[in-house]
Amino acid sequence: MPEEALENKMVIKDLSMYYTDFKAIEDVTFDVPARRITALIGPSGCGKSTLVRCLNRMNDLIEGVRVEGEVVLDSENVYQQGFDTIGLRRRVGMVFQRPNPFPKSIYENVAYGPKLVGIKDKEELDFIVEDSLKKAALWHEVKTILRESGQNLSGGQQQRLCIARVIAVQPEVILFDEPCSAIDPVATQLIEDLMAELKENFTMVIVTHNMQQAARVSDFTAFMLVQEQGQPGRLIEYGDTNTMFTNPSDERTERYITGRFG
């Protein structure tokens, strides 16, 4: 990969989030560099999934959620008054823990996003679908069965279909919420390879509880932890992945990555 100056695609500043009265995460601050993969790790329940959902305001959909602090995307705070959340989610796409293709055909799954912005032209749609499926490394497996239900694919294929579906709307950032936790190791390998390829065009954030995966795929890593039951999740350490895994500065990070808890 050619060296280039790091620019920050997203900046998270003093972010706290509440479920009604309960504070789920507190004062989280870190950067998401452009065209790099940032991993969020930590034991389950530390708020890493909650945090990643703050980045494209998916938590807005849950009743009683309140957010303080800033999430800056290209120098604009996405939590500012009147910010277009629908546009935001188009720019910041998401791949979920369990593969969740719609109960529609493979083609329709990928064409869903482009159709939303009013692309109706058949040829253009065909092109986007093929291009997205190719980028998701799924094209050769499904090109003859585009009209079949996306739910008939295997788990790993479904997850790649979901990635293709996100790629089709040309997002700037893709959030992965434990994308491999529900699929087998071979399929996991495929997706990790895919992420490495996508790095050329997309900024990515991946939530994972699998430290090896974080070590393998990510450039930067943020470690989150809940100190005690009932307390909010906090960011313990953030930095270059290599440094973090070889020479963590915080004792708690070290204990976690050496497998002493979590």
Binding site: I86, G87, I119, Q170
Partner: protein
């Protein structure tokens, strides 16, 4: 590619307000659909009340609701007497009779489904109860008329029509409600409850009697109240077997009427204040139903608190 993506994004941003606008409009439409329920209840209240108002005003609360003097006059409605107490009593009496049988039977069948029966048998009974609930009331009424009434007549030497026949028919109507809801309540009890009791050496019967039924008390009560609601509201089946008399029933074999049967028998021919008095009977049914609903709300709130 990037440029096109950018365009799309600006497009979406541009459309942001339109989206928000449409979102709100859609939400309002959906809310309007949901509000049909509110509207319906209000309209029902309004129209039933409006139609019963003349009789309340003309006859007074005492002569209308608390009198047993029912001597309607079709040709000259104002000349009639429209006391409905006989029929309120008839409703209560037939319902009481029905609950006397259907409560133990329904809860017993629910215990059978949930605790005693092997799975296949439980499924058979559950399906059977659902089918029973689906039998139209005219069919049950006809069954009562051609089988129950003659049977009661033979055994008791009365005409066969009356409170007893009505109550038996109502058992069939109330039983599915009570059984289904009781079984649901029992099923929703935590499994540990039963395990704990059995672990202490209790027999199945002791577990049911001392642990399960008391813990399910509120749910069972709600089941019985809803069953009662069905019995109070049932019309056709009762009308076919109760004898349609205007006598105040004192014996289980007396012929009388209930609020619902009086309404369905007379509405076709009533006009003026006579019809208004029938609407007043519907108003009483409406109020009874409301009382039951509020009762259920209170009980379920208590259950949630507990």
């Amino acid at each position: 590619m990037r440029a096109r993506g950018g365009e799309a994004v600006t497009g979406a941003c541009f459309k942001g307000h339109a989206f928000a606008d449409r979102e709100n409009r859609v939400k309002v439409v959906m809310l309007a659909c949901a509000s049909v329920a509110i509207l319906a209840i209000l309209l029902i209240f309004l129209f039933i009340f409006r139609e019963s108002l003349p009789s309340i005003r003309e006859l007074g609360v005492k002569n209308l609701f608390f009198s047993t003097d029912w001597r309607p006059n079709v040709a000259d409605p104002k000349a009639g007497h429209y006391g409905m107490l006989t029929f309120i009593w008839g409703t209560l009496l037939t319902t009481f009779g029905a609950m006397l049988i259907s409560t133990p039977l329904g809860i017993g069948a629910a215990v059978f489904i949930d605790q005693v029966a092997p799975d296949s048998m439980a499924r058979v009974v559950r399906r059977g109860i659902e089918l029973l609930a689906g039998i139209p009331s005219v069919v049950i009424g006809w069954f009562g008329l051609i089988l129950l009434v003659p049977a009661i007549a033979r055994v008791t030497g009365t005409s066969g029509y009356g409170v007893a026949a009505a109550s038996l028919v109502l058992v069939v109507m109330a039983l599915p409600t009570i059984t289904t809801l009781s079984a649901e309540t029992l099923k929703s009890l935590p499994a540990e409850l039963k395990e704990a009791s059995v672990a202490m050496g209790a027999t199945r019967w002791q577990t049911i009697y001392k642990v399960l039924l008391p813990s399910a008390r509120e749910g069972l009560l709600i089941a019985v109240i809803l069953g009662m609601g069905r019995a109070i509201g049932e019309t056709m089946a009762v009308q076919m077997v109760i004898g349609n008399a205007r006598a105040f029933a004192v014996s289980p074999f007396a012929r009388t009427s209930t609020l619902t049967t009086r309404i369905v028998t007379d509405t076709g021919e009533a006009s003026g204040i006579f019809r208004s008095a029938l609407f007043a009977q519907a108003l009483v049914l409406l109020l009874i139903a409301m009382v039951l609903i509020i009762l259920i709300r209170v009980i379920s709130r208590k259950r949630e608190a507990a």
